[in-house]
Subunit: 288 residues, 2 copies
């Protein structure tokens, strides 16, 4: 089946044509500008290519409730041009195909279970640590949705004793995203992320915040695997630091062989689909 | 269909015979003593009553992974007599019926969706604030399970500025359960819970902790309803306090009409099945 996939992010849109096995036949990347500029380019890419359905993994908050009047609309984004923009409805109308919508991180979790580093298990949590922090999950054969989609990046975390950075979240100041996403890291330390590579203190503090979040996700969701992606996780030294602190924080409370020194390296892992978890997830979403 | 249900708690076992509609024909309560004393009583209650299947909602941590060798065993309990006790296997063997096992709070969430205060929605989170704090959830037609069952009571919360009570959790000291369950409340203030009813400071602090937890659950799970039960919630003044603080903490980040002053009273609610959410959930579990 020929499917369309869109990974709609705050800085770029990834567009692909592929199939239900995650194979990609054609792919392009365009910048996220005003919707009147970006959306016509999206339509032009897909038009006349014979796609049967379209899946869209979008930057949240996005209305993913199929019964809602504002289904497929971007809500509350720092990208104000996009607020209330009926992206789903316009694509459906212009391309004449069903458009399935979910969050970028929910579809990434799904594709990691289908084809990536969680393909040997049934559930997984996918967290991206980049310009923002977002996480999605796939459980019981479905992505996690309820009242709305999860906004796991905005949970409250306890402060590192050496940190007095105020935080950047306009809603909560020092929620996880507010103190641990890429931009806050760069503001706290006054340098670009990749220039901080050698400063151990930076990654120790970052791991302290990320481990608190993962510990909460484990207590609340108990996923069978945790995948960590996004620009900040390019600092691979974070993985062993985060794993170690998660074990310390859990303090052996959850009895599982996966949550031990011997196996945690296979429990908290980078994406198996590297940068394609999102776009492949969008293709899979089109089949649902 | 004639079904058996067991709500296995740390202080008592509730046993019932009923049907798949949650009707209860016969019910009894026995104390939780050593398994060699309690389990024979359980078997005596069900024997010869013609039940076709049995559902058990158990006090965690309990192994609910059907593929695991220790399925149905209690793990890591403060009730040390019960650790490693193969409750599920023994009941199956002695009663000759299939035994379905889940946590007490997961089945309570399920029965509130089937017959209680969440019956108009598809998903719900059930939290009990009693001797311990536990929460379960029902989503996508199933209770929440993954690596293990959730242990939502043990998440980390930020300290109330006026609180220097050290916390009672043997694993984490001041996790949510460690500072906000009934026993810690009684130790902090030096009185029984019901004797503290008039002390506003107590409930303001308690609501501060519970609201943090609910806010995290909303960000991570996004349930369509939250049900709060357990002994501590008998202090009904907690409901408006918790609702108010949840709204403050969310700070309008999640766009949902249910998370507004107008509708939060219908979003965070007591159990519709009062004290029978657990046992009715166990009956329903037997049908799954
Ligand atoms: N090599 C790196 N080391 C540390 N931080 C990085 C690195 N590359 C990118 N980042 C951080 O990640 C953020 C971008 O995240 P990314 O996941 O690439 O994009 P987005 O979240 O916008 O989709 C940047 O703000 C930067 O702070
Ligand atoms: N009326 C009340 N007011 C405040 N706290 C109470 C009240 N009744 C019980 N509690 C608290 O709830 C705890 C018992 O919780 P409960 O949910 O009844 O049992 P369990 O959690 O053992 O199943 C007690 O430790 C006590 O601290
Ligand atoms: Zn925030
Ligand atoms: Zn704890």
């Amino acid at each position: 089946m020929k499917l369309g996939g869109i990974e709609a992010g705050g800085t770029k849109f990834v567009l692909a044509i592929g199939d239900e096995h995650g194979e990609i036949f054609e792919k392009t990347v365009i910048p996220t500008e005003h919707p009147e500029i970006t959306v016509p380019k999206v339509i032009m890419f897909f038009e006349g290519k014979g796609i049967e359905r379209l899946g869209l993994g979008g930057f949240g908050p996005i209305d993913i409730n199929q019964e809602s009047k504002s289904y497929g609309q971007i809500q509350n984004s720092p990208k104000t041009d996009w607020i209330g923009y009926p992206l789903g409805a316009i694509l459906k109308d212009k391309l004449g195909v069903e458009v399935m919508i979910d969050t970028d991180v929910n579809v990434a979790a799904m594709s990691e279970v289908k084809w990536g580093n969680a393909k040997d298990v049934d559930s997984c949590l996918y967290i991206t640590v980049g310009t923002g922090i977002g996480a999605g999950a796939y459980f019981n054969g479905q992505t996690l949705k309820g009242l709305s989609h999860p906004e796991m990046g905005h949970i409250k975390v306890a402060r590192h004793p050496d940190d007095n950075y105020e935080g950047t979240c306009p809603y909560h100041h020092d929620c996880l995203e507010g103190i641990a996403a890429g931009p806050s890291l760069e503001k706290r330390w006054g340098k670009k992320g990749h220039e901080l590579a050698e400063n151990e203190k930076v990654w120790e503090m970052e791991a302290f915040y990320l481990a608190q979040a993962l510990t909460n996700y484990i207590y609340i969701l108990s996923p069978e695997r945790i995948i960590m992606g996004g620009g900040v996780m390019k600092q691979q030294q974070l993985f062993p630091l985060v794993r170690k602190k998660v074990l310390e924080m859990l303090n052996e409370y959850v009895s599982s062989p996966h949550l031990t020194e011997a196996e945690i390296d296979q429990y908290i892992v980078p994406p198996g689909l590297t940068d394609e978890a999102g776009i492949k997830g969008a293709l899979y979403l089109a089949t649902t």
